[in-house]
């Protein structure tokens, strides 16, 4: 342990898929260019989507979250992976609950993310039912340009990811937080 207290910036409380740390920092432009976020169906039953991100600071992940649409339901799984697909954490299958609410899962141990490492946030859902998810219909081309991948039959998410070329639209609102409660 250092003899000096750290003054490193701990990062924001929430880091999410539409924010500047995701998708190469360009997704704000993608979101603005492809319509307004709204409740929507997940693209395909049991599909996983993986969105890339990196942070310029150490970041302690205490919880992960996704956003339920206006008619929450089905089952979700959320996880973190390295760029090569090696798994860091994957939640079990979790029933969607709370219309238009963020829903959090808490890993058994906190996860320390290193600065300037490319990670992937994975999110999968069991059903393509209207309004169970909340997202933005970014085009497939834009997603490919931003390093988004997908995987079939992935509820719950696998220990290690097998990335496939993305063919479904959507950047859904999900993310990580260093808060243990309060939100």
């Amino acid at each position: 342990m250092t003899d000096f207290p750290s003054t490193e910036y701990p990062g924001p409380t929430h880091i999410h898929t539409w924010g500047k740390y995701f998708l190469g920092g360009v997704d704000n432009h993608l979101v603005s260019g492809y319509g307004n976020p709204a409740s929507a169906a997940w693209p395909s039953a049991n599909l996983a989507l993986y969105w890339p991100f990196s942070v310029p600071f150490h970041y302690v992940v205490k919880r992960l979250f996704w956003t339920n649409g206006s008619a929450a339901g089905g089952n979700w799984s959320i996880g973190l992976y390295y760029w090569n697909g090696t798994g860091i954490y994957a939640s079990g299958s979790t029933a969607g609950s709370g219309n238009s609410q963020l829903q959090y899962v808490t890993p058994g141990t906190e996860i320390l993310l290193e600065p300037n490492v490319q990670y992937m946030l994975g999110l999968s859902h069991s059903a393509a039912t209207a309004n169970q998810a909340f997202g933005n219909l970014v085009s497939v081309a834009a997603e490919k340009q931003s390093g988004v991948y997908q995987e079939a039959s992935a509820v719950p998410l696998p220990t290690d990811a097998t990335y496939a070329a993305v063919s479904n639209t959507g950047v859904y609102l999900a993310g990580i937080t260093r808060t243990a409660s309060g939100f």
């Binding site: 003054t7 490193e8 910036y9 701990p10 990062g11 924001p12 409380t13 929430h14 999410h16 539409w18 924010g19 500047k20 997704d27 704000n28 432009h29 979101v31 603005s32 307004n36 976020p37 709204a38 979250f65 956003t67 339920n68 238009s100 609410q101 963020l102 909340f134 933005n136 609102l173 993310g175 409660s181 309060g182 939100f183």
Partner: protein, 171 residues
């Protein structure tokens, strides 16, 4: 050097809100509702002035302040009469040094009719606001110390445009 920490810049909820095609308009934020918007500070700065943007209807008082990550109020203007339609209103605050970290800009008005410049963002709901780390609190004028986050998504979404002027020196 000098600069601005703002609730709608890329250091704060602008991280998302300015990314969608919203419009800025004068909106009544609601009486005695406190809004808390996270701001990232990546280097030591000293804030010395707070700024709000008034709409076309001026009435009552506002309170603007800054909280640390643990929701302790560091500085605030105290109850201040709103003045000047469709203009920015600056309030001197006690010089306050901020180290790197996450802070919350706080704002509340005691008027039912006063309007402030607020971004109307398509898709903004309680969930998206919470994903940006934002929160609201009822019965909170003047700004309380500490702030209280009750959990769940914010009940109110009229997050106003608030900023702080700062100066800093090389570290």
């Amino acid at each position: 050097m000098a600069g601005i920490l703002g609730s709608y810049t890329d250091t704060a909820i602008g991280d998302w809100i300015t990314g969608v095609s919203g419009t800025m308009a004068g909106v009544a934020p609601g009486q005695n509702i406190a809004y808390y918007m996270p701001i990232e500070v990546t280097r030591r700065v000293t804030i010395y002035q707070a700024v709000v943007r008034n709409g076309a209807t001026v009435a009552g008082n506002f309170d603007v302040g800054l909280y640390d990550e643990w929701l302790n109020r560091l500085v605030s203007s105290g109850s201040t009469a709103q003045s000047g339609t469709n203009s920015s209103q600056s309030v001197n605050i006690t010089d306050t040094v901020l180290d790197r970290g996450t802070y919350y800009a706080g704002f509340a008005s005691d008027s039912t009719t006063a309007t402030y410049r607020i971004q109307s963002s398509p898709g903004l709901n309680g969930a998206t606001a919470q994903a940006c780390g934002c929160m609201s609190q009822a019965s909170a004028f003047p700004l309380p110390d500490p702030a209280v986050f009750a959990g769940g998504v914010p009940a109110n979404l009229n997050f106003p445009h608030v900023c702080f002027l700062f100066w800093s020196t090389l570290e």
